[in-house]
């Protein structure tokens, strides 16, 4: 897609007066805002990552990969990176599994309540994720709703460890990212057509086969987009791991914050930020590759469509 977009103007005849100048004028405010809020801080972080830190928050202005080397040779930081990816994978899998049936229902229903139901599915977004995380703490904590209820019913004698660990963070994050996943899936389910399911059934496919052979392959692009979204959100998630993790879940986002504000080790914070960015790069590369493979099934191996 990108290749086409780049190559296309070359074959078009050169227009005497393009919309170039006007377009640039219209784009200017956006470009300035992006430069100030995105590009400059990014450059600044990259620069900071090449510095070295001394004692007591001292920053030595250098241009070296010493801090990178220090971080990458430390088992602790590899552990943090590992836990970040582990949390991302767990949250993504859980979110996809619970969101898929909902999204499938919402995409296929012909009920006149459909609009309302879709709106309901995303209403949690109206409440800040901080408030929702506190809500989950009240539910999952040792004195929380789940443990209290199970304890009083005599089902458990010891409280279940649902908060202050990875389990709690996964449960809360899953709920928090569900609206995003559902929206991404619904908008990615455009190829789903009830008539295709009817056609498969008329050719002798029982319901489960219809799902496996028709519904699932057609909804995969939507699932892939949702997966990317949730994974990226979860990699950069700060509030939920911090609050529900109770200081026992170490992920890149929380560690960057701690390094920058508590340890005052800005070079290390910058290196961790760059590593997180690199992780995003890998994830997006994988996504684009997977998307290309998926799309090839619809448009043919060369993607040739006249």
């Amino acid at each position: 897609m990108t290749a086409e977009a780049v190559a296309a103007p070359a074959v078009r005849p050169v227009r005497p007066r393009g919309p170039g100048r006007h377009a640039l004028a219209l784009l200017a405010p956006g470009i300035v805002a992006l430069l100030l809020t995105y590009a400059m801080p990014l450059v600044w972080v990259l620069r900071m990552s090449l510095n070295e830190s001394g004692e007591g928050g001292l920053i030595r202005q250098t241009v070296s990969f010493a801090t990178f080397a220090e971080v990458l040779s430390s088992a602790h930081w590899w552990n943090v990176i590992g836990q970040t990816v582990e949390l991302g994978v767990l949250v993504t899998v859980c979110t996809l599994v619970v969101s898929y049936p909902l999204a499938l229902f919402l995409a296929r229903t012909t009920s006149r309540w459909r609009g309302l139901l879709v709106a309901l599915a995303v209403t949690p977004l109206l409440i800040s994720s901080v408030a929702r995380t506190f809500g989950w703490m009240a539910i999952l904590g040792n004195q929380g709703l789940v443990n209290k209820t199970l304890g009083e019913l005599g089902i458990i004698s010891e409280p279940l460890q649902l908060a202050n660990n990875l389990t709690g963070v996964v449960i809360a994050s899953t709920e928090i990212y569900m609206p995003f996943a559902i929206l991404a899936m619904i908008s990615g389910f455009g190829r789903l057509d009830p008539e295709l399911e009817h056609a498969a059934a008329s050719l002798g496919a029982p319901r489960r086969t219809v799902f496996r052979r028709v519904v699932l392959p057609l909804t995969l692009p939507g699932v892939l987009t949702a997966a990317l979204m949730v994974f990226v959100l979860s990699l950069s998630g700060y509030v939920t791991p911090r609050l529900i993790g109770g200081g026992r879940v170490f992920v890149l986002a929380t560690e960057i914050y701690d390094q920058a504000t508590t340890a005052l080790d800005w070079p290390v914070a910058a290196v961790l930020s760059v590593l997180l960015l690199a992780l995003f790069g890998v994830v997006i590369a994988v996504y684009l590759r997977a998307q290309k493979v998926l799309e090839a099934r619809f448009t043919g191996p060369q993607g040739a469509r006249s």
């Binding site: 008329s202 002798g204 619809f298």
Partner: protein, 362 residues
């Protein structure tokens, strides 16, 4: 082939929950083995629902569906063994042409070598052998239609069901595919039911036509029956163009009934007799009325041309009978006869077989 009932619908009805009325209100139909039945009607008449009832995609509220004497009413879609070609074709966009066609065979656990052979044969039948590896998105509308046909036929279903098979094609392709579907049906000898709103399609493709309106069948018969001997005013108006003139029965005249029509006097009309003194409706097809410049003081039906629209092969006239009689549509071929401009006085004539009595629904 023929004459043995293959597909039998009896008292078939469907009411959708929450809908005002029934979509299908008791349908009785029989299709003989190897024949083509067209279900013809305006949109919303229940013809697509009827097809879906036969396919098993919709459960009937009442009635029975039988194939070869076997009751299929409660058999789920995937075990009904009906080949369905959907209006949108409903081809699987994630599979190539060959895998689309192979789908039904794979569901029947046919061996790999046989799947390959039968897919090849089916694609040859629809003349698409060279496109087996194409994706659906790379095909034209006509090619998609052929794939849909091949996919439905490859499993050798007991009945082939086509939902508005030609409606998504442009006019030129439509007549090609009309011939193609006819050829394929003859080659396979499969019992076929197709649904259409296009009377020309129904008349030219089908062995018998069932005209539907508001969930009921108005008339079933051969294309000739439907066109030349419509049983009801709806059929006369929906199938081809028709002048419907209301008058009063004035008794019998041999084989025919004499009907007194405003501006026309007593006209003998064929069809089921109507009692003397009762209202009667007479149908006159526009192309069966001849026009001639009116000679002064001659007898017979006379009228005034209101408008004449030239349409290449024909001229469509609107003629008012007498001074304030009904207005008739008249269609005359161009070239062979003099044309008449608006305001011209004309004499109207027709062969005695042309006027038909059409009973009003009681």
């Amino acid at each position: 082939m023929g004459d043995t009932p293959h597909l039998v619908l009896s008292g078939l009805a469907k009411t959708y929950p929450g809908a005002d009325g029934a979509a299908v209100r008791g349908i009785d139909l029989t299709v003989e083995r190897g024949r083509i039945l067209a279900v013809l009607g305006p949109s919303g008449c229940g013809k697509s629902t009827t097809l879906r009832l036969i396919a098993g995609l919709v459960a009937p509220t009442a009635g029975r569906i039988e194939v070869d004497g076997r009751d299929l009413t409660d058999v789920p879609v995937h075990r009904r063994d009906m080949g369905v070609v959907f209006q949108s074709y409903a081809l699987f966009p994630h599979l190539d042409v060959a895998r689309n066609v192979a789908f039904g065979l794979e569901m029947r656990a046919v061996g790999k070598a046989e799947v390959k052979r039968r897919v090849g044969e089916a694609l040859e039948l629809v003349r698409l052998g060279h496109l087996a590896g194409r994706r659906i998105a790379q095909l034209s509308g006509g090619q998609q239609q052929r794939v849909a046909l091949a996919r439905a036929l490859v499993v050798e279903p007991s009945v082939l069901l086509l939902d508005e098979p030609l409606s998504n094609l442009d006019a030129r392709l439509r007549s090609t595919m009309q011939d193609e579907i006819g050829r394929i049906q003859r080659e396979t000898g499969i019992t076929t039911v197709f649904v259409t709103h296009d009377q020309q399609e129904a008349l030219s493709m089908a062995d018998s036509v069932a005209v539907m309106n508001e969930g009921r069948i108005e008339q079933t018969g051969t294309p000739q029956d439907i066109y030349e001997r419509p049983a009801r005013p709806f059929v006369a108006r929906f199938v081809g163009r028709a002048n419907m003139v209301e008058g009063t029965s004035r008794g019998r005249d041999g084989e025919r009934t004499l009907v007194e029509l405003p501006g026309l006097g007593k006209v003998p009309a064929a069809g089921d007799p109507v009692e003397t003194g009762r209202p009667a409706t007479v149908m006159l097809r526009p192309h069966r009325i001849a026009l001639a410049a009116a000679a002064p003081e001659s007898g017979g039906a006379r009228g005034t041309v209101l408008s004449a629209a030239y349409a290449g092969e024909t001229v469509a006239y609107r003629v008012r009978l007498g001074d304030d009689g009904p207005v008739l549509d008249v269609e005359r071929p161009t070239g062979s006869e003099a044309s008449h401009g608006p305001g011209a006085e004309v004499a109207l004539s027709w062969d005695p077989e042309a006027p038909r009595l059409v009973a009003d629904p009681s």
